[in-house]
Amino acid sequence: MVQFIAKRLLFLPVVMLGVTMLLFAALQFLSPAMRAALYIKDPRQLASLDQVIQKYGLDKPMPVQYGIWLKQLMRGDLGYSETAKMPVADAIKSFFPATFELTCVAFLPILAIGVYFGVLSAVYKDRWLDQLSRFVAITGYSLPSFVLGLLLLMVFYGRLQWFPPGRYSLDVDLLVHSASFRHYTGLLTVDTLLNGQWSAFVDVAKHLVLPAVTLIYIELALLLRITRSSMLEELGKDYIRTAKAKGLPGSVIVRKHALKNALIPVVTLSSLLFVGLLSGVVITETVFDFPGIGRWGIEAAQQLDVPAVLGATLLAAGLFVLANLVSDILYAFVDPRIRIG
C-alpha cells in the first residue's frame, strides 16, 4: 500500500507539469503585447509595453518563455490581479479560505446523506423512501442554484431572519478586523473558536447555513442517484444471490458485500464533487454575497483578468490532481485488486 501511495505521489509533479504546459500553450494564443499586459498594473504602463515584453522575455522562443514562466510560478509569482487589486497568489490566499470553509460544511453532509439514502433507495427500490429520494434528486438537480438560493434567502432571511447573507454580521465584522483578533487559519469558524469568541462562532456558522444548504440540495442529487444505481447493480449480481442463499442477514449483505463494491464510482464522483466545490461555487457565492474564490474567478473572467483566471485554473487543476490522488488511494482501500494490479 505504501509503495502504491509513493508511486502516486511521485507521479504528482509530472501531472502538474503537464497542467502547466497546457496552460502555457493556451497562453500562446495571446499576442506578446497581450501577454505583456498581464504584468501591467496601471494603464499608464501600456506606453512602455515593449520594455515589459523584453523584461519578461515574451519575444523569446517558446521553450525559453516556458522556462521563465515556470520559474515565476515556482516563486509563487502568478502575476497581478486587477480584479482583486493584489497579486494573484495573495488573492488566492485571501479568497480560498472562505470557499474551503463553505465546501467543508457542505461536503460532509452531501457525502453522508448521499451515500446513506442512495443505499437505502436501492435496498427499498420503488418503495416510498426510494420515491422520496428520487423526488429530492430530481428537484435538486433541476432547480437552478440561484432560484433555490433566493428562495431560501427570502424565507429564512427575509421572513424568519434566521440566516443572513454575507460571511458575518456587523458586530463580527468589527471583531474580526480588530487588532485583538488573530487569524490563525482564515477559516472563521475555526478562528473564532481559537480566539474564544463563541458568539462570533455562532454568527459565522449562521451565515454558512443557507449557502451550505443550497449546495447540499443541488449537489446531493448526483451522488444519491449514482450510489443508488451502483448499489442496484451490485445487489443484482450472482455473489449477492449466493450470499442470500447461504442465509446471510440482509444488513450484512448490504454493508459488507454490496456497499464496498458499489463504492468505486461513489468515490470517483465524491472527489470530483469536492474539487468542484473548492474551485468555487460561483452562483451560490454571488447570491449569498459570500467572498469566495468562485465569485472572484467569475469577475476575473468577465474582466479578462488573465493572470487571475490562470491562477484560478492552476489552483483548480492542482486540486483536481490532488483529489485524483486521494480517490486513487481510496480505491486501493476499497478494492485491493487495484493496488496489486
Binding site: S31, A33, M34, A36, A37, I40, K41, D42, P43, R44, Q45, L46, L49, E82, T83, A84, K85, M86, A91, S94, F95, V147, L150, L151, L153, M154, V155, Y157, G158, R159, L160, Q161, P164, P165, S169, L170, D173, L174, H177, T286, V287, F288, D289, P291, W296, E299, Q302, Q303, L304, D305
Partner: protein
C-alpha cells in the same frame, strides 16, 4: 419563475413588517451599492463611489447649504467671499478667503492656511489623465492641463500655481487670470484639504517647486492617499477592503464641530439586486442602490421609504464612442481590422458609424419601459435643470431605416459588406446601463447578420482604467455635475480637453471655441445662445448618445433621519453626506 419569487417575497411580508418596528444597529449606517471606489486620493478620485467616501473624510472650504445647489455656507473657510462683503475684488479676479482656526486633522495635527494652499496646488499639479485637476487649473491658471499635446510637462505650472494661490496671514488669496463665475461652487466640491506634513511624511509631494514634476500624472496606487486618509471631516477611513468592496468609516471623535451622530458608516458593494433588497427589507441595510427598473420591486416593502421625483443634475446613461481606440493589448477590438472579426481603432471616427448607432436605439421605449417614465429624452448636454438647456434642440430618434442608410455609407461601404465585432462595456451591477447595451446590441445586430456586439460587464475600477486608456470602443457612463453650471456639462462632455473627449480622442475646434466664449460671458442670455450653438454642433458630431434627462428616487429604511438630497453631491441620491444622518424609530401614525 419571477412570479414564484415574488410570491415568496410577498409571503415574507408580515415578518418584514415586524422588523420595521425596531431600529437595527442604531449607531451604524449600512449603504449597499454596486460600485467599489477607485481611489481615496482627493486629487485622483473622479468617480462618484470614491468621491462619496472622500466627501465624508475630507472637507472643502465651503459646502452647499442643505439641498441648495446655489447657496454656499462656509466650512473650512469662515466666510463665503462675495462682492458685497468685499472678499471678491471689483474686477472679479482676486478672492480673499479667511481660513478657520481650531480645526485638526484626524491625526491630531492642526490645519493651517498653508495646508489649504498645498491642497489646492497639489490638486492642480497632480493632473492625472482624465482626472479632475482641470476643474481648478482652468479658472486659476487659465489652462486645463499641465502637459502639452505631446504629453510633455509645461515648465512654469508650479510658478503659475504659486502665484495664483497664496497665503496672507490667515487668509487664502486666489488670483485668477480672468473672471470665472462658478469658482466658489467648484471649491465647495473639489480640492478638499489634506495635511501637507502628513503627505510629505508618507512619500507624497512635499509642496516644493523642485519636485512637483515627479508627482505629475502618477500611477494610481503610488500615492499614499490611495488607500489611507487623514482629513478634517466627520468620519475617518477605518478600512477599505477592495476584496469585499467594502468601505468602513468611523466617527471622528475629535471633529471640530459636534461629532457625527452615527458611529460608523459601511458602504458595501453587492451586485446582486435580490440580496440588496432582502438586506434592506431585513434592516441590515439602511439604504440601497435601486434604479428605475427595480422601482416596482422596492415599492411597498414594509419599513422602507421611497422618495420619488428627486431632481438631478446629471445625464445618465450616456453612450460614448471612442474615436481612436488604443489597440495595444486590447481584446475589445478583436482583430483590430475591418475584416468582420474586429474593428479598426478608428472605427468610430467615421460619423456614419456613430449615426448608425444613434438611430439604432429606442429612446422612448427605454424611457417608458426601463426608466418607468422617470425622465425625458435628453436634447443636449445641458440638462433641463440648468440654464442653457434647449428643449427644442434636434435629437436622434429610433429609426432603423436611417440607421441602415448610415451603416451602408460607413467607411466607403466596407462596414456593411464585411461586418464587425467588438466589445460594448458597462459597469457590473448597473442594470440600466446593461439594458442600454442590450438594446443597442439587439437593434444593431438585427440590421446585418455580420454585425456583432459583445456586451460585457466590468467592475467599476477596472472599467475606469479601461476607458481612461481608450481601450473601450463604446462605453456607457454618466455625467453628474461637479458643480451646477452648464459649463460643467459642455466642457467635460465636449471640449477636447474635457475628461470624456480626452479618453474618446474627440475634438471639434468649433466647439472648443464656443465653450471658451461661454465661460467668460457674464450676460446669461448671451451665454444661453452660445450653449444652444454648442448643442447643435453636438447633434451634428454625435460623439455620444444622450438618452435621458432623469428624475430619480431614493430607497432607504424609514428609520433614517437627517438625509438631505442635494443632487450635486457625489452619487446622489444613493450616496450621502453622513454628518447630519442618524437613525430613530419611525413615528407610528394614528
Amino acid at each position: 419563475m419571477t412570479r414564484l419569487l415574488l410570491a415568496a417575497l410577498l409571503a415574507a411580508g408580515p415578518s418584514l413588517a415586524a422588523a420595521a418596528e425596531t431600529v437595527k444597529n442604531p449607531e451604524s449606517f449600512t449603504e449597499i451599492t454596486i460600485s467599489d471606489a477607485d481611489s481615496m486620493d482627493p486629487a485622483w478620485a473622479y468617480d462618484t463611489a470614491s468621491d462619496m467616501a472622500i466627501l465624508n473624510i475630507y472637507e472643502t472650504l465651503f459646502m452647499f447649504d442643505g439641498a441648495s445647489t446655489e447657496k454656499l455656507v462656509p466650512l473650512l473657510a469662515t466666510k463665503v467671499p462675495s462682492h458685497a462683503n468685499g472678499l471678491i475684488s471689483a474686477d472679479g479676479r482676486v478672492y480673499t478667503i479667511p481660513i478657520r482656526n481650531g480645526v485638526r486633522f484626524q491625526d491630531g495635527t492642526p490645519m493651517t492656511p498653508d495646508d489649504v494652499r498645498y491642497s489646492i496646488i497639489r490638486f492642480m499639479l497632480y493632473d492625472r489623465d482624465a482626472g479632475p485637476s482641470s476643474l481648478l487649473l482652468q479658472p486659476l491658471l487659465g489652462y486645463t492641463s499641465t502637459r502639452d499635446d505631446k504629453g510633455r510637462i509645461k515648465p512654469r505650472c508650479y510658478q503659475d500655481a504659486a502665484r495664483a494661490v497664496r497665503v496672507r496671514g490667515n487668509d487664502l488669496i486666489l488670483t485668477l487670470p480672468k473672471p470665472f463665475a462658478p469658482l466658489l461652487t467648484i471649491l465647495a466640491m473639489w480640492a478638499p484639504v489634506v495635511s501637507r506634513k502628513w503627505a510629505a511624511g508618507h512619500g507624497a509631494w512635499d509642496g516644493s517647486g523642485k519636485t512637483w514634476e515627479k508627482f505629475n500624472n502618477p500611477e494610481k496606487q503610488s500615492s499614499p492617499f490611495f488607500e489611507r486618509a487623514n482629513g478634517t471631516g466627520p468620519f475617518r477611513l477605518q478600512r477599505w477592503d477592495r476584496r469585499t468592496m467594502e468601505i468602513v468609516l468611523s466617527r471622528n471623535e475629535r471633529y471640530w464641530r459636534k461629532p457625527a451622530r452615527l458611529a460608523r458608516v459601511i458602504v458595501k458593494g453587492i451586485n446582486e439586486f435580490s440580496t440588496r433588497k432582502l438586506m434592506l427589507a431585513a434592516g441590515d441595510a439602511d439604504s440601497i442602490f435601486a434604479d428605475a427598473s427595480q422601482y416596482d420591486q422596492v415599492r411597498g416593502l414594509p419599513g422602507v421609504q421611497i422618495t420619488t421625483g428627486l431632481p438631478t443634475v446629471e445625464l445618465n446613461p450616456v453612450v460614448f464612442f471612442t474615436y481612436h481606440v488604443n489597440p495595444i493589448a486590447n481584446p475589445n477590438i478583436r482583430s483590430a481590422e475591418l475584416d468582420g472579426r474586429g474593428i479598426p481603432p478608428d472605427f468610430f471616427a467615421d460619423p456614419d458609424v456613430r449615426k448608425g448607432f444613434a438611430y439604432a436605439f429606442d429612446y422612448q421605449g427605454y424611457i417608458r419601459d426601463v426608466m418607468r417614465g422617470m425622465g425625458l429624452q435628453s436634447t443636449g448636454c445641458v440638462p433641463s435643470s440648468l440654464p442653457g438647456h434647449n428643449p427644442n434642440q434636434r435629437t436622434y430618434t429610433f429609426d432603423l431605416k436611417k440607421s441602415e442608410e448610415h451603416f451602408r455609407k460607413a467607411m466607403g461601404g466596407q462596414v456593411w459588406k464585411k461586418g464587425f465585432e467588438f466589445t460594448l462595456a458597462y459597469n457590473s451591477g448597473n442594470v440600466e446601463r446593461e439594458t442600454v447595451a442590450q438594446i443597442l446590441k439587439r437593434y444593431v445586430e438585427s440590421l446585418n447578420p455580420k454585425f456583432r456586439v459583445d456586451v460585457r460587464p466590468i467592475e467599476w475600477p477596472e472599467f475606469l482604467d479601461d476607458y481612461i486608456s481608450s481601450k473601450l470602443p463604446i462605453f456607457i457612463m454618466a455625467w453628474q455635475a461637479d458643480y451646477p453650471d452648464p459649463h460643467n456639462f459642455a466642457f467635460p462632455l465636449l471640449d477636447s480637453q474635457g475628461s470624456y473627449p480626452v479618453a474618446q480622442k474627440f475634438a471639434d475646434p468649433r466647439i472648443d471655441k464656443l465653450i471658451d466664449s461661454a465661460i467668460t460671458e457674464t450676460e446669461m442670455s448671451r451665454r444661453k445662445k452660445l450653449y444652444y450653438k454648442i448643442q447643435e454642433l453636438e447633434y451634428e458630431d454625435v460623439p455620444h448618445l444622450l438618452i435621458v434627462d432623469p428624475v430619480v428616487f431614493r430607497t432607504q429604511r424609514d428609520w433614517v433621519r437627517g438625509w438631505v438630497n442635494n443632487p450635486v453631491l457625489p452619487d446622489a441620491p444613493y450616496g450621502s453626506y453622513y454628518y447630519p444622518v442618524y437613525k430613530a424609530a419611525p413615528v407610528k401614525k394614528g
